[in-house]
């Protein structure tokens, strides 16, 4: 047995022995599903909290981070194995969210020792929740156009401007921001710096944004003469664009994976809704055209999971292929297709917004369908993803956008 196989046995044993039974089968085990923690967290599910505590004790909340920063000191391969074993039984990762999936890895790569020591242990214990300050009203797909001003003043930066789509800023403790430190740089990609801010700093205002679904996962975050220590600069001043791209890379690969859920679950969900709403019992769904569409969905879902498996196997064997670039495009399309079909089979029972005559599951489903429209926009729109694949994987020449 290879070392990794031996570790797989150990991981499987530990996960199955320690994950509370009530959590089994409840999650796709993605990096953004489950307990996000932070000082404003109001989670009360005792099993979720116990699972968190057991994993902290085992040092498996951030398995591949160095031990001195609250990690497990394991390899990336071992970390993948632990997460795969959680996914195999459908339990959430003990701690999820931005800090573990995106900010932490970047701080490990670009941060100073002092910054790592200050921030990473709190993330690994789920005590500090982070959010991302990237987009601005005039910097969406054209992110490098960002304008949040950061001016050096003694041993501080003074921040003025606005961020938008700051996910869960209202529930977070800290924000990592892309700021404009040199407004006169010759190229807009130059003159950008990554600066960290405690959200309780005076001058920061957070306002929630209501989406078409009625959910408010996003916020606008305003900065009005906000003074943060100069030591909160990550990496070098004016060289933040490289870091920004690295974070986006983490985000896109994790969005693709986080959408994956359990193999076959999208098809099962739509079939169940079809049975409920078309009054069809066991056996063939009576509408052959709908059945064909569901089969198309089921096939795409299986192909997506097999492709994720293939990507992971290639990475484990040390020869990663170019397929990783498509997971966000495909994963989000699959998600939208699933909700479209789930709404289609529901007919007018899917039209409820709230109140009598609609059951809770259907109301929730409708909200989730509306929410799913954002998936091909957030974290880099599908069009931006296609530009990137076109240039970096297919080697096509850049043209006018």
């Amino acid at each position: 047995m290879s070392e990794l196989d031996a570790f797989r046995e150990e991981a499987r044993g530990w996960v199955r022995a320690n994950a509370p039974k009530s959590l089994w089968g409840t999650s796709g085990s993605g990096p953004f599903e489950g307990y996000w923690g932070g000082s404003k967290c109001e989670e009360t599910d005792p099993d979720l909290l116990r699972w968190r505590d057991l994993a902290i004790e085992k040092q498996w909340t951030a398995p591949s981070w160095p031990v001195e920063y609250g990690g497990g000191g394991l390899s990336r391969e071992q970390e993948d194995i632990i997460h795969a074993e959680m996914k195999a039984i459908g339990v959430p990762r003990p701690i999820a969210g931005q800090g573990l999936a995106m900010f932490g890895p970047v701080l490990l790569e670009y941060g100073s020792d002092a910054q790592r020591a200050q921030h990473l242990p709190g993330i690994a214990r789920g005590e500090v929740r982070w959010c991302q300050g990237y987009s601005e009203p005039n910097a969406g797909s054209d992110l490098a156009n960002l304008q949040l001003k950061a001016e050096r003043d003694g041993d501080a930066y003074v921040l003025n401007g606005q961020k938008i789509w700051t996910s869960h800023a209202n529930l977070s403790d800290w924000i990592y921001c892309l700021t404009r430190t040199d407004p006169n740089a010759p190229k807009k990609q130059v003159g950008i710096s990554v600066i960290l801010a405690d959200l309780s700093t005076p001058g920061i205002t957070v306002r929630r944004i209501d989406l078409i679904s009625g959910y408010s996962p996003f916020c606008e975050t305003f900065f009005d003469n906000v003074r943060v220590p100069a030591a909160n600069l990550v990496g070098k001043e004016n060289e933040g664009w490289t870091i920004a791209k690295a974070i986006l890379g983490h985000e896109r690969s994790s969005i693709g994976r986080s959408i994956a859920r359990q193999p076959g679950s999208a098809q099962r969900e739509v079939v169940a809704r079809a049975r409920k709403h078309l009054g069809a019992g066991e056996g063939a769904i009576p509408d052959p055209l709908l059945r064909d569409e569901i089969a198309t969905l089921g096939m795409l879902e299986e192909a997506f999971h097999l492709t994720l498996a293939r990507i992971q196997q290639s990475a484990e064997s040390g020869t990663p292929g170019p397929e990783g670039s498509i997971t966000k495009i495909v994963g989000t399309e699959l998600k939208q297709m699933r909700f479209e079909l789930g709404m289609k089979v529901a007919g007018i029972q899917g039209l409820g917004w709230e109140g009598p005559g609609f059951d809770e599951d259907d109301l929730q489903y409708t909200r989730d369908w509306l929410r799913s429209r954002a998936s091909t926009i957030e974290g880099g729109s599908s069009e931006i993803q296609k530009n990137i694949v076109s240039k970096r994987v297919l080697g096509l020449p850049e043209g006018k956008k």
Binding site: P263, A303, Q313, I326, N387, S390, L396, P397
Partner: protein, 374 residues
């Protein structure tokens, strides 16, 4: 994959080497332009027997045939490695008829005698096989006659029926079921007429008029041929899906190269976002198709229970991908793409033919739905 661990979808070092060797050999020796040459010269065979023999010497034809029948005793997965490469150049050699349909029928249902008589010849490139199962207006029936049977009726578009040394024929047996018979085309009552198709694969009408065969001609069990035929067609679907994957890869690569070079308005047309995003869609479909083709091939070797659903998945997806790739390839080639002078049109003809063979995607989706209980 429902619930259990994903199969290994990687090639091992030997398979990577095999893939590379086959790729180079085929690109060099068997370019797609041969389809035009065979068509225009009205070549009797429609493919090259010499090339077939060379591939036998390389060991490719006997990859999956057990060692006791002079093969290499490897898996269906290994065979698919070569099939993928053969698809790149649309090779008209009898891969589907002989290695997929005929050989798989014998491996799954043949007696030791039948296998001994034919498989060593297949591995050596000397014997060709075919399987007749498609009918139009004259279904083939088998009636008992003495110790054996008499076969009458007509099979259509029997791939390589014009050159096969033995043709396996499916026949209805006295309303009790279906039986597969191994038929020597030189028998009295068999007449073979060559058919010409858009895709350059050789095919024939096989007419049978009171053709007498013995019980020893039965492949598998009498009256239980339908299940055997399904299993054979599953494997053929998986193998053809591997060819379609290779063909899609090649048509796509040719197209990307073309749009990088072709200039209009003073710039390469590949710099236009309208083409770039469609190219990425095709790239994405091909990447997904590769995963399902590898999974189906793996299932045939390792997990028989998964074979029906994964082969239907592979056939449906490879069919849609190949046809879409080929249509986009022609569109992006512009005017030259619709001329007979350019090879890209052959990819679309093959794509359409492959789409229609062994069940259209909609039929496989219906089967998928049934297998998943809806």
């Amino acid at each position: 994959m429902s619930g259990h661990r994903a199969p290994s979808l990687l090639l091992n070092d030997e398979q990577k080497m095999l893939s590379k060797t086959a790729h180079e050999f085929i690109r060099e020796r068997a370019p797609a332009a041969r389809i035009r040459t065979f068509r225009d010269s009205k070549d009797e065979l429609g493919f090259s027997r010499d090339l077939w023999s060379e591939m036998a010497e390389l060991g490719w034809l006997g990859l999956q045939i057990p060692e006791r029948y002079d093969g290499l005793g490897l898996g269906f997965f290994d065979l698919c490695v070569v099939l993928e490469q053969s698809g790149r150049e649309l090779m008209p050699e009898p891969f589907i008829s002989t290695l997929l349909l005929g050989t798989q029928a014998l491996l799954l249902g043949g007696t030791d005698e039948q296998k001994q008589a034919l498989l060593p010849g297949v591995a050596a490139g000397e014997k060709l096989l075919a399987l007749g199962y498609e009918e139009a207006d004259s279904p083939v029936a088998a009636t008992k006659a003495g110790d054996g049977f008499e076969l009458s009726g007509r099979k259509v578009q029997v791939l390589d029926g014009h050159v096969a040394d033995r043709i396996i024929i499916s026949a209805a047996t006295d309303d009790r079921g279906t039986t597969l018979f191994l038929v020597d085309p030189s028998l009295a009552g068999v007449s073979i007429t060559r058919q010409h198709r858009i895709d350059g694969l050789g095919a024939a009408l096989v007419s049978l008029e009171r053709v007498a065969v013995g019980r020893d001609a039965i492949v598998g069990k009498a009256d239980e041929g339908a299940a055997l035929l399904d299993a054979v067609l599953d494997r053929a679907s998986a193998g053809m899906a591997a060819q379609m994957l290779g063909a899609s890869e090649q048509a796509f690569a040719d197209t990307i190269n073309y749009i990088k070079e072709r200039e209009q308005f003073g710039v390469p047309i590949g710099s236009f976002q309208a083409l770039q995003h469609r190219a990425v869609s095709v790239f994405t479909e091909i990447a997904l198709t590769r995963s399902v083709v590898l999974a189906a091939a793996r299932a045939i070797d390792d997990t028989p229970d998964d074979v029906p659903r994964l082969t239907s998945l592979a056939k449906a997806m490879a069919s849609e991908t190949f046809l879409h790739t080929a249509k986009e390839a022609i569109q992006m080639h512009g005017g030259i793409g619709v001329t007979d002078e350019h090879d890209i049109g052959f990819y679309m003809k093959r794509a359409h033919a492959a789409y229609m063979t062994f069940g259209k995607p909609s039929q496989h989706r219906q089967r998928w739905a049934e297998l998943h209980g809806y």
